[in-house]
Amino acid sequence: MKLKFRIDTFQLYRTGIAIGIALLLGYIIIFFSKIPSDAASLWEGVRAGFDNANEAFKWFLLGPIVRWRGNEMLFNERGAIQWLNESVPIIITGLAVSIVFSAKQFNIGAEGQLFMGAVAATFVAVHFPAIPVLHPIVVILTAMVTGALWAVVPALMKAKLKASELVSSLMMNYVALYMGLFLIKTFIRDTKAGSLVSLPFAATAQLPFINERYRLHIGIVIAVVSAVVIWWILRRTTWGYQVRLIGDNINFAQYSGIATQSVVFQVQVASGAVAGMAGTLEMIGYYDRFLWLFSPGYGWDGIIIATLARNNPLFVLVAALFFSYIRVGAKIMGRNTDIAPEIVSILQAAIILLVTAEAFLSGLKQRSIEKRARKVEEALTGREVK
């Protein structure tokens, strides 16, 4: 038990070191890109590079929670709210992906599931009778059912035909994108608006605000509750145990009498249902109509976040909040300097590569395990082990 704890702290260290390396990489890139080409001397150029990089990193690391009035540091309410709001969809997709990952299945179809979910939700949000309280619940349920249905196709192919869900779920993303845009364009487009957007939602469909001024909606509460519920299901119920057993060893699960085929199917569909509400929460929370022209990319974010969180729904919260923090930080940096906020994706890529690299720092882990084993042996035998 203690040994296991040791290894988990090791994972924590490793994630921390990966984040550190990524930040350092970002600093170096900004430093080199900000050395002015017309600097008087090399020394001047290097100093300007450092100054610019420091300034940029100040906005990047502190921007979401701090604003400056002169030299006085104040709480940045708007930034913090943006941070929380932007974390909602990626918490949800992270949860969706961590469900399938727990069973060692793959789902890169979350993107299509959330897109289709949002499209279906749009119809309900516009046309469903305006009953307060009930309305947003019906909207979210519609999104979940649609997401689940969208996951059925790859899931059936996997369960009945043993076809890889990787390519089929990817294909479903594109079908969702084209079909979804077609449905919006044909049936529910706001012709008075300049761009392709849906009719505005009924006021009753909107999620209530916690902070009206900066539009902090209760999506974040829903996301946190979902994380706890999914954690409970995966860790404390029979079904969750079956799922994790399949993830550990599907053959063993099969021999011990679990209907693996049907559980794998259920896992895929459950994941689709969760993914289905990811975009919808943002849409009926922050926005008031359907306004995507492209896939928003939350499905891919979900894969990254579930991986960082090692499929633990509670860690998903932490990972998603971290990712949305550096994104909002990058945006604030982009507004205050002339550095493109897209640099944050270089950092994200570095973090995910290092965190998922099994061999990264594995020597360290090996040594710590050996050290512990030696201690245990010494305690047992009472002799010094070299």
């Binding site: 890139i29 890109s33 793959f106 196709v153 192919m157 035909l161 043993k162 076809a163 890889s164 990787l166 390519v167 089929s168 990817l170 294909m171 479903m172 594109y174 079908v175 084209y178 079909m179 845009l181 077609f182 364009k185 044909t186 891919w300 894969i303 990254i304 991986t307 550095i339 493109a340 897209e342 640099i343 944050v344 994706s345 270089i346 994200q348 890529a349 570095a350 995910i352 590569l353 998922t356 690299a357 099994e358 061999a359 990264f360």
Partner: protein, 338 residues
């Protein structure tokens, strides 16, 4: 109506099919090599985007096409090397590593574009070059045939040649055999002295090279500039084309052609008021159906032939398997059930 139909199936239409097929075809062959080696390359999208970007930037700053070609291909290979390093050496899951690389390319190209040119949308301010179109001597003077065959982009011709080269390399050379062996059964390959990692590394490098040509075509042929996210999912479409086309380079070329055809058709059919979303999503639906069908005929209860292990069905025998399935259904018994 009939006029519009004629307009759709004109030489222009064939030309546009060939143009939109080229990048998909190159990337799909990249997907094929990597898949056969058992190291699927989902980073095609990012690789294409990166080479498209590097090609434009290098040609803009050096005004030298050869350097642009070299740098573009090199950037594709570099992406593959990073993928190989993390997947093979650092034991990262290859899908996750590829997703990371795609994210890197999407944001990285925008960041470097804005750092170098000050513009975040496109490279319009960079005076970049394009690779030329080629008129085939003699053939271009043949009346109808000349119009179809001649005057295409040089990378298009390269892609067509590469179909045959790849088919030859994969199925008629020791390297091809090693690649397929490693994908089929890495342990068995290792036991007879084939280095799995080395073979996969080579396969990924070939994959990156082919894909980078597709990227270069996009920014230095299809159009003459780089725009953010200009690959627009073509790398993923290439994966679909490969899944559709099976394991031979010819099949993959046909798969890519179907996607190219659908894309070109969707532009033309808009004149007939057919929503382009339908034509655009059709190839994806077909791919899902075909994948389901492939999987169905590979199910144990549908594989009757003695000694047919799952491995054999994957490797080069797909069309034979499809044929067997239909002949069994049709009651034709021609030496398949022996």
């Amino acid at each position: 109506m009939s006029d519009t139909l004629l307009g759709i199936f004109s030489w222009d239409f064939i030309g546009s099919v060939i143009r939109v097929t080229t990048p998909i075809l190159l990337a799909a062959m990249g997907a094929l090599v990597a898949n056969l080696a058992g190291s699927p390359n989902i980073a095609l999208e990012g690789t294409m985007l990166m080479s498209a970007f590097i090609g434009v930037i290098v040609s803009g700053f050096t005004q030298n096409l050869w350097l642009a070609l070299f740098a573009g291909v090199l950037s594709g290979i570099t992406m593959s090397l990073v993928l190989a390093f993390f997947a093979l050496k650092m034991k990262t899951d290859i899908i996750l590593a590829a997703i990371a690389l795609n994210i890197f390319s999407t944001g990285g190209t925008i960041f470097f574009l804005s750092t170098l040119t000050g513009d975040k949308g496109s490279s319009a301010s960079v005076n970049s070059l394009v690779f030329p179109n080629i008129d085939l001597p003699l053939i271009k003077d043949i009346p109808v045939l000349g119009e179809i065959l001649s005057g295409h982009h040089i990378i298009t011709y390269a892609a067509i040649v590469l179909i045959f080269v790849m088919q030859y390399v994969l199925y008629h050379t020791p390297l091809g055999l090693r690649i397929r062996a490693v994908g089929e059964n890495p342990d068995a390959a290792e036991s007879v002295g084939i280095s799995v990692n080395k073979t996969r590394l080579i396969a990924l490098i070939i994959s990156g090279t082919l894909t980078s040509l597709g990227g270069l075509f996009l920014s230095m042929g299809y159009v003459s500039w780089f725009a953010r996210d200009m690959t627009a999912g073509r790398g993923f479409i290439a994966l679909a084309a490969q899944a559709l086309g099976g394991v031979s380079a010819f099949g993959v070329a046909l798969g890519a052609l179907l996607f190219g055809f659908a894309e070109a058709l969707s532009y033309s059919l808009q004149f007939l008021k057919v929503p382009y979303e339908f034509t655009q999503s059709l190839p994806f639906i077909i791919t899902i159906a075909v994948l389901a069908f492939y999987a169905y005929i590979r199910l144990p209860q549908n594989v009757k032939r003695r000694g047919a292990q799952s491995g054999e069905t994957r490797n080069g025998r797909l069309f034979q398997r499809v044929w067997e399935y239909f002949s069994r259904r049709a009651g034709i018994r021609k030496g398949v059930d022996s």
